[in-house]
Amino acid sequence: MRAFLTCLPLLLFLAHGALAAQDGAPEAARLWLEGEQGSASTLAMVTDIDIEVTGLLAYTLIRQQFLNDSGDWAEGRYVFPLPDNVAVESLRVVVGDRLIEGEIQERQQARITYEKARAEGRIASLVEQERANLFSTRIANIAPGELVEVQIGFRQRVDYRHGEFRLRFPLSMATPYVPNGAARDEAGSPAGRGLADDAEGLPNPPRLEPPLVGPLASTNPVSLRVELNAGMPLALLESSHHFVDKRYRKGAWQVELTGPNANPHKDFELVWQPAARNRVESAVFMQRLGGLDHALLMLTPPEQFVADRTRREVTLIIDTSGSMQGQSIEQAREALRVALDTLTVRDRFNLIEFSDLPTALFGRPVDVTAANLQTARHFIDGLEADGGTEMLQPLEQAMAQTVTPGFLSQLVFVTDGQVSNTAEIEERLRIGIGESRLFTVGIGHGVNSQFLSDLARFGRGSTVLIADLWQVQLRMGELVAQLTRPVLHDIELHWPEDVEFLPQRMPDLYAGEPLLIAARADKLRGDLLVTGLSNGQAWQQVLPLESFQAAQGVAAFWGRQAIRHELDRAGHGLTPEASRQRVIDLAIEYQLLSPHTSLVAVDKTPERSQDAALRRQDLPGFLADNRDDHGTGVGAGPTPLTARAMPATDAGSLAQLVRGLLALAMVMLMILHPFASRQADSEGVS
């Protein structure tokens, strides 16, 4: 039955491929094949997705099946999108009855390994991180008529916002991706791009370009299963766009797509909500790897939280340079008014405007009184945009303000971020920010959002972007929620041993977003003490490390955080070369894909596979003659395939025979048993 199920989608899939080609529509989902006679997209594919969720970590295993029906020996190139921020952990290629395992190597090294394997006629596959959410797989030397299965395993984080956990998976990855519009021209040319490069002795295969998604008339064969171990009782579990079957078994939820033909135009999205809670919940997971203990601390905020006793000291900084003229300054004024409205009598505040020179409204943060607020509103109303942008001085001035003990210092920075000395500003901010939090508000369409989000990250705050006046209330609402409702701040972790932990500067816990802290040490035993301030009160929790939950993926999570940390440090007290080396070391240690590493899988039984490859090259393949029947040449159209499941070829007579003989043997034993025991009895008497 299983064989039939996997075969059925293949058939549907192929039928669709033929249909699309007839209509002249974009090619259906197939792998791009580069053979000696040119390039053609004649690979079929079946996709099978398995996702395992533990707490906030998800491990996904994708299995994809390609069939080389081109009649040529070919190199395959497949491009697929993945969810954001994934860490690819494994790659396996199954060709026939052989298994090829992947390993992480430095990018250049991986390229060499791959080229070498390909030149020797061995099968190699290369996965590189082209962009954060786009991966390419290359499979060399696919024999004519050969089925190739590529398995890629990766980890990702589950999204948690506003009391809901959300797991997304782009089913569109099972839909066709044509590497480029040039594809058609390439077909029928003497050599495909990859092989042409090779012939000219150029070691670099072409870099992939963004894929084009064609409008699809049909559905795709894709099966998807999720095993959800939420670690808490759930109030809700549902799929947003697809029909699923749900079952609760052995402490975990099993969710499966109903039927093989899920709508590929919609991302698969699974949403779950914990049963209502009203306190900060902490969970710790641990994994031992490579002789080190890795820990992941997760603090989950309550869904509802009122921080009416948290005292804040808010400094609003506004950019009034010439670039803010017009719409922008109006949006900025409106944003400031919203921020001003969040203040209560327990807080303090100040206002700084800057263009060429900063001007502070008050010499130091003042109490929130009706008079002070009135002064501030007048000040805001009178703001006009003019002059240059000297961003460093107002920031330094704001950071230099002494923070009153017991207050949470927040800087709100409203700007379009149009400055050239971004690196210098980031550097000064890292050194001078101290205990203050920095929130950035990006104004207008030409905003330098990368710069603003970097600033907010270094300042342990967050960033919002406001493009139009009508967005002010909406976007500022998100920021205000963070400004006014820190659930837990000034968090400190007291570990029983010396540990490395990330992020190094402890962020705050806000309503609607759990906090993840990764740590690593030789040995983690004893109690972890977590302290902080919650609504003006001291808060603490003791977590016995002995009761850590063992979970897969904790070490990989540490690895990813460490890589990100090193990448952040590049150019800030660490030379790019040193940073690169550290990233490579980490990526290889934790077997993670990064900007400097690739995952390469090479057949690890070289002699045998080389023999096999040569032997098979002598033979016309399974489908060697399919091509010749198309007088029009390569790429003229897909070969219609008639796929069929393997027949059941077992009569089961052996099993029957064994069972029958077993039963008869037991009867024999039972017949013999009375004689044996009687004999024993008589011996006992005498």
Partner: protein, 195 residues
Amino acid sequence: MIRSLLMACLLAVGVGQIAGATGTHVKAWLGQALLERAWSRAGRSDEPEMPWPGAVSHPIARIEVPALNVDRLVLKGAETPVLAWGPGMEVGPKGHRLIAAHRDTHFNFLKDLKGGDRVKLALADGRIEHWAVAQRSVVDSRRFGLNLAASGDRMSWVTCWPFNAIEPGGPLRLLVTLHRTSSPDDEQAGRGLEL
């Protein structure tokens, strides 16, 4: 009392199972014997010759492997009811032939088949074709299907793998690929095919 009942039950089960196993082999042998008659009359008329009233299929080819002293009549279709009586054959749009049979009866000889072994294929219309074994591979039926649209110069034989497995219904299949040769003694046939 309970003891005799138990023994009776076990005896019944044992005899039943062995009878079933024997039955499978008797059916397999009987099928081939009965097909002989239908085969000798095949090709004379356009109507397929049914071997016996109510038969599920009819013979369309005969395979012979002289090296192993094997001679089998092949039925049309590779569905389970057909395979009880003999190997079943399906033909793709370009003439690619798929022959499947049970590992414990008609295709038991596949375990002794070697690369380069010659095969004679006789068709119902009287044509005789010569083939040679090109390749043997084990595949997982959960992952791999068969491509019937492959070229007619290739033939696929399929049976369950491994041959000595006790439990039936395993996922593995032995896939033997054969390739056409012009004559039984064609020297080119076995070139590079040894495994």
